[in-house]
């Protein structure tokens, strides 16, 4: 009879019995289709950022006086010649003409001139990710001296596609680096506040409230104004991330503190204490794993905020400065009325920002829903 009463419900499948929390989270995350798509998109953006040079058709710094504000060109896949039609991607060449009265420039399509594009074509040598010497790019003009502009050119004739891809590296990584720093500060301070309680909790909570009550944009502006203008671009990049994470850690600290407060009184934590675990072991072995998923979720929601912050600062001219390339720096070029009227493709980096932020937000939402795989769901 004992077997009868204690037997498990035959209607419940047993295949998830040995699934760890990560597997359960993945099972739950997978149900969130939008988040899953976003995950792939975000992954793609980071691949783009890591191997930016390979994906750029041209060096983003190379100028071309003949191609100032060159409009985007369409790729033609089928090449029609006297010999017949065959698959050979190319763009049609353009000729620059200037109106004799208004001096306005305009580009005329020239169907006789074809610039062929080759897949994994040869280009001038470059260093992938700064240290791997390479000579091929994903797409390149078959004749290395020719240029094409899939997303148009800027005021110095630089390729916007290459520049946007180059901007991915700084813009996407500033989120990661900034969040990593806020993560460190946030978990440390939030965790101590939650676990220790007492005066440390009161002081840090008040400090967080103080920081959160201050308007962020003026603080960023003030802090970035103190960075010397002639400093090395790399140093400036780090200075900006530090400024962003100085405010970014507060939200994370709050989340961590709240979870700690909730978990500290859980029976399994008391059980660990009675098992003889020291405070450090309780925190890292017993409490932290329960927190990890929540931290990941709030991190993935903090990254887009960082990206937006960097973009706004650079747009206002107080963040990164040329020659660094970030989406914000690129968008600064689109500040004047002339670009709206004459070269709307200068807003392309804004589209990248939009995609990145939306994808990260959806991903964060999905992660947050999946973060607690033990919550009741049918």
């Amino acid at each position: 009879m004992s077997n009868l009463v204690d037997q498990t419900d035959p209607r419940i499948p047993t295949d998830i019995a040995e699934a760890s929390q990560w597997r359960l989270m993945w099972l739950k995350f997978k149900k969130h289709k939008l988040a899953l798509i976003s995950l792939y998109l975000v992954g793609f953006l980071y691949v783009l950022a890591a191997f930016a040079e390979f994906f750029q058709p041209f060096d983003p710094e190379v100028t071309s006086r003949r191609d100032v504000f060159h409009p985007p060109q369409m790729v033609q896949f089928l090449d029609r010649t006297e010999d017949g039609t065959r698959f050979r991607p190319h763009v049609l060449g353009t000729t620059l003409s200037r109106d004799p009265e208004t001096l306005a420039t305009s580009y005329e399509r020239n169907p006789d001139e074809k610039i062929y594009i080759s897949f994994l074509g040869k280009s001038e040598p470059y260093l992938l990710a700064g240290f791997i010497p390479m000579q091929r790019r994903l797409i390149a003009p078959t004749d290395p001296d020719e240029r094409f502009y899939l997303l148009g050119g800027d005021r110095l004739g630089r390729d916007m596609l290459s520049r946007s891809i180059a901007g991915t590296r700084i813009s996407m990584s500033i989120g990661l680096v900034g969040v990593a720093m806020s993560l460190f500060l946030g978990t440390l301070i939030g965790g101590m506040a939650g676990y220790l309680g007492g005066w440390f909790d009161s002081v840090s909570t008040r400090a967080i409230e103080l920081i959160l009550s201050m308007p962020t944009i003026p603080i960023w502006l003030g802090l970035s104004a103190t960075i010397p203008a002639n400093i090395d671009p790399l140093m400036r990049y780090f200075a900006i991330t530090v400024i962003l994470s100085l405010i970014g850690w507060t939200e994370l600290a709050r989340v961590v503190r709240g979870r700690f407060l909730a978990l500290r009184t859980e029976d399994f934590v008391t059980a660990a204490r009675l098992d003889g675990a020291r405070p450090r072991r309780i925190v890292f072995r017993h409490i932290m794993p329960s927190l990890m998923s929540h931290i990941i979720a709030s991190v993935s929601l903090a990254i887009p905020a960082m990206i937006l912050a960097e973009t706004s600062l650079s747009f206002l001219g107080l963040g990164l400065l040329p020659p660094s390339i970030s989406w914000g720096v690129l968008l600064k070029e689109a500040q004047n009325i002339r670009s709206i009227a004459q070269a709307p493709w200068l807003f392309v980096p804004g589209f990248f920002v939009l995609i990145a932020v939306l994808a990260l937000n959806f991903l964060g939402d999905g992660l947050r829903d999946a973060a607690d795989p033990y919550a009741q769901d049918q």
Partner: protein, 581 residues
């Protein structure tokens, strides 16, 4: 009332082959699987089953209250209405299973024809509306009464559910009511439109035993007065014995036994029903196993002595927390625990029994008093003022089994990690030794070795409690503090866990401090008992003596509220109420 036109014994609600399914990521889950039941006016049908057996889903299906992704897949729920004017035995029937969940028809039936009481009186009443306005709501909706008339009806109803001073109570908010009063208000709300059917989903589970008894009496009276059909859902056979006319036992979504209460209690057919009945009967007698064991292995020397323990909690109230309030959770508690003995601590919620347990284990600090622990070597030491590091050896000998099997196991650690933690921290660093010991422990608590690498979510409540026990006995302790260790479990599993604890006591020579709100359980399981009331130990002594010749009024009240174990005993017990606030 219209149902008097129905022929006697004619069911007012017929459930035929009902199937309610939930679509989960693992496929379709039949929560209610081909269930057929009848509700007859003036009779109570008790639906018994453990958690997850589908009894709540069944009751919600009747009112079309199943939340998505659940839905009624097939079957009929026929509500028979007698036509008020007809003298013949003609009835009109309506199939509730066919109705849309949001349709006007089912909304009219809810509250008017079928009333419902939920388990948790705390969350089923809105905290921001007065009791009166919440009860009036359904009167206004279903009968279109004006305010004055509705108010009079509500006051009358509150009087019938024995809420004292109903003229005042009608304008009070739920937070001003105690749990029992709230449940009475819930009942008043369900009955205000004179429904012909009342569905009560574990209405007394969240209440203390003494209040549970009162609510059951009230429901019984109301059933007779209104000639209502009651569908009463419970997991407690004692409650069934008290109020049922018919019993249906549910398991894994199916009704496995269905019949008259006398038949089911006297001639249970299914093994599962037998197990349920056995566990109910256990509360009437001391465990024969325990008595036999004490003959062979008498209770030894004192190992834990507490004298005048006092624990206070501080709170801050008033503006800016300037006023300090003190709550004395345990006041002047003295007792002795002997080797191989089981000491029960009984009291209702808020009596300080859990705090006492945490104090003797020194999870909490102690304000005053002494606590002496005698270890295996015979050294007697004062432990009331030690810090965590100094308490390590004591904690190895004194372990806990927690109440909630879901909160006490870290969901992110596998079973072997959970049980192995204390072994690892107490110096068993070799993984091979640890694994051997864990397998030994799993065997001891009756779990298969395949449990080793599984995570807690793969186990049922009873199995989790076995893991918890394995963790407790891992470092070879001498004292186990079981804090309501069985109260979150279904009755049938409860008996098994108790038997397991008893078995372990015999093999490992353990002493138990067994904390419970159930005096019947304590009588079965414990040698001696402490009765706690509001932080004080009001009575202590041999458990048989306390249960048969109580000296304190509060103990008498507790005893009188212990549910009976057979329908024949109905009315044999007089209710006591301990009013000393």
């Amino acid at each position: 009332m219209t149902q008097q036109n129905l022929p006697a014994d004619h069911p007012i609600l017929e459930i035929k082959n009902l199937v309610t399914v939930f679509e989960t990521r693992h496929g379709i889950f039949n929560a209610v699987d081909d269930v057929s039941l009848n509700l007859v006016p003036g009779e109570t049908l008790c639906l018994v089953g453990e958690s997850g057996s589908g009894k709540s889903v069944l009751s919600r299906s009747i009112l079309q209250l199943v939340d998505r992704p659940g839905r009624i897949a097939s079957g009929e729920i026929l509500l028979h209405e007698a036509h008020p004017s007809s003298k013949t035995e003609q009835t009109r029937s309506l199939d509730l299973a066919k109705l849309e969940a949001r349709s006007g028809v089912i909304r009219n039936i809810r509250g008017r024809d079928i009333g419902m009481i939920f388990q948790e009186p705390m969350s089923s009443l809105s905290p921001v509306h007065t009791i009166g306005s919440q009860i009036t709501e359904s009167l206004v909706l279903h009968e279109g009464l004006n305010k004055k008339a509705a108010r009079d009806r509500v006051i009358e109803m509150l009087r019938r559910v024995e809420i004292p001073n109903p003229e005042k109570a009608i304008d009070q908010y739920p937070f001003e009511f105690s749990g029992g009063m709230r449940q009475r208000a819930m009942i008043a709300m369900a009955l205000i439109c004179n429904p012909k059917i009342l569905i009560a989903d574990e209405p007394t589970t969240a209440l203390d035993v003494t209040i549970q008894a009162e609510i059951l009496d009230l429901l019984n009276d109301l059933k007779k007065q209104n000639d209502m059909a009651i569908l009463f859902i419970t997991h407690d056979m004692g409650v069934v014995a008290e109020i049922a006319d018919h019993v249906a036992v549910m398991r894994h979504g199916k009704v496995i036994e269905n019949g008259n209460v006398q038949d089911v209690f006297d001639r249970p057919k299914h093994d599962y029903t037998k197990a349920l009945l056995k566990s109910a009967r256990d509360s009437q007698i001391p465990s024969p196993d325990r008595l036999a064991q004490r003959q062979v292995q008498p209770i030894g020397a004192p190992i834990l002595e507490a004298s005048n323990l006092r624990k206070e909690f501080y709170g801050k109230t008033g503006l800016l927390g300037m006023t300090q309030t003190t709550l004395v959770a345990v006041n002047d508690a003295s007792f002795t625990l002997h080797e191989g003995e089981t000491l029960g601590v009984v009291g209702e919620s808020g009596s300080g029994k859990t705090t006492l347990a945490r104090c003797i284990q020194r999870v909490h600090s102690i304000e005053a008093g002494q606590l002496h622990y005698t270890n295996r070597g015979g050294d007697r030491a004062e432990i009331s003022q030690l810090n965590d590091a100094q308490l390590q050896p004591t904690w190895r000998d004194m372990r806990t089994v927690f109440q909630d099997p879901f909160a006490s196991l870290n969901p992110r650690m596998s079973v072997s990690q959970i049980i192995g933690e204390s072994l690892l921290l107490n110096g068993m660093t070799s993984p091979v030794d640890r694994r051997k010991r864990i397998l030994e422990l799993l065997d001891l608590v009756g779990l298969p070795s395949s449990a080793l690498e599984r995570y807690p979510h793969a186990f049922s409540g009873g199995q989790r409690q076995r893991i918890s026990i394995a963790r407790a006995i891992a470092p070879n302790p001498r004292i186990i503090i079981a804090d309501e260790a069985t109260s979150a479990l279904d009755v049938s599993i409860r008996t098994q866990i108790m038997d397991l604890l008893q078995e372990l006591q015999k093999e490992l020579r353990l002493s138990y401090v067994f904390i419970s709100h159930d005096l019947g359980l304590v009588r079965y399981f414990c040698d001696r008992v402490l009765v706690m009331f509001k932080g004080d130990i009001v009575e202590s002594g041999d458990s048989e003596t306390v249960c048969t010749q109580p000296t304190h009024d509060y103990t008498r009240a507790l005893l009188s509220a212990v549910p009976i174990t057979h329908p024949d005993q109905r009315g044999s017990r007089q209710r006591f109420r301990y009013e000393n606030g």
